[in-house]
């Protein structure tokens, strides 16, 4: 990824020079606006950012607020996120994604389900810690230990209320 930086900067400069000289390329470097829409094919990094990390955070915030209906919903969403990601990228760098997810999160997700159904805050917190540790263990297994997930200490969703309706 880093190796593309220099050519990108050079190209950006050259496009500016070309534009200044009055002869811009006929077609946008970002593609043809009349082309057929290409299938959207997000890779693992994007799937994690779109489907897993925000849902993990929302689940934690809902549990912290003891908003059990929202926690149950967030848990379901998170489970579905893992299912979608493992179907979309069944192997990542040759490693079996469904099995890695299973080893990392199945047990804490089950414990979270129980905790939410029982509305048992302490068990929720323990299972959520375990889930977060599972995320980080998986990152370590896949040589991404520099991505450290933690229990959220603030909401990143200013337009959503996490406290339960009274």
């Amino acid at each position: 990824m880093r190796k593309w930086k220099a050519p990108r900067i050079a190209c950006a400069s050259l496009v500016i020079v070309a534009a200044a000289s009055g002869r811009v390329p006929a077609e946008s470097p970002f593609g043809d606006p009349n082309a057929e829409p290409a299938p959207f094919n997000p890779q693992m990094a994007a799937l994690m950012s779109m489907l897993i990390q925000p849902r993990h955070a929302k689940l934690g915030l809902a549990g912290e607020a003891e908003n059990w209906p929202l926690a149950a919903y967030s848990l379901k969403e998170l489970r579905q996120g893992f299912a979608v990601a493992s179907r979309a990228v069944p192997r990542w760098r040759g490693l079996p994604v469904p099995e890695l997810f299973d080893a990392a999160v199945t047990q804490p997700l089950t414990l979270l389900d129980f905790a939410i159904k029982l509305k048992y805050s302490r068990q929720f917190n323990e299972a959520y810690e375990q889930l977060t540790a599972g995320c980080n263990a998986c990152h370590a297994t896949t040589d991404h230990s520099f991505i450290v997930i933690k229990v959220p200490n603030a909401s990143g969703f200013p337009n959503q209320e996490f406290a339960p309706k009274r």
Partner: protein, 134 residues
């Protein structure tokens, strides 16, 4: 003057093509979110889970990945119960590579190779080792 303009035009066109191609590659085609895949291994690597008889993964188990009669590499399973060993090189036949696992309080029950050798060096050879509590 005309020659200079033409040369500039050709150069600009070449630059535009180069930039379009490089930006398209940078954008990852229709994909979204780069996976910084830069692994360049020679032979297939070796990967697998160590599990107990209930199917639960076993962290911190000793795993030996060795060549028949020529010793091998000793590693340990991580928190997810997985081990990874880099390839031995293209001259080594994966059929000659054996995996064994061990942990105090357990004995090895079975070793199952789960994948056939692949020509793609990015696909590791998966071998699952099962331990039984003693």
């Amino acid at each position: 003057m005309v020659l200079a303009w033409r040369t500039g035009g050709i150069a600009n066109a070449a630059l535009a093509v180069t930039c379009a191609l490089s930006i398209a590659a940078w954008a990852g085609g229709a994909g979204f979110g780069d996976d910084d895949d830069n692994s360049e291994e020679e032979g297939p690597s070796y990967f697998g889970f160590v599990r107990d008889t209930s199917g639960a993964t076993v962290p911190d188990a000793k795993v030996t990945v060795g060549l028949k009669g020529r010793g091998g590499i000793i590693t340990r399973t991580d928190l997810l119960g997985t081990y990874k060993v880099p390839g031995f090189g293209k001259d080594v036949d994966p059929k000659d590579v054996e995996v064994a696992c061990d942990k105090p309080g357990y004995k090895q029950m079975r070793v199952v190779r789960r994948s056939a050798p692949s020509k793609d060096p990015k696909i590791p050879i998966e071998t699952e080792c099962t331990l039984q509590r003693i």
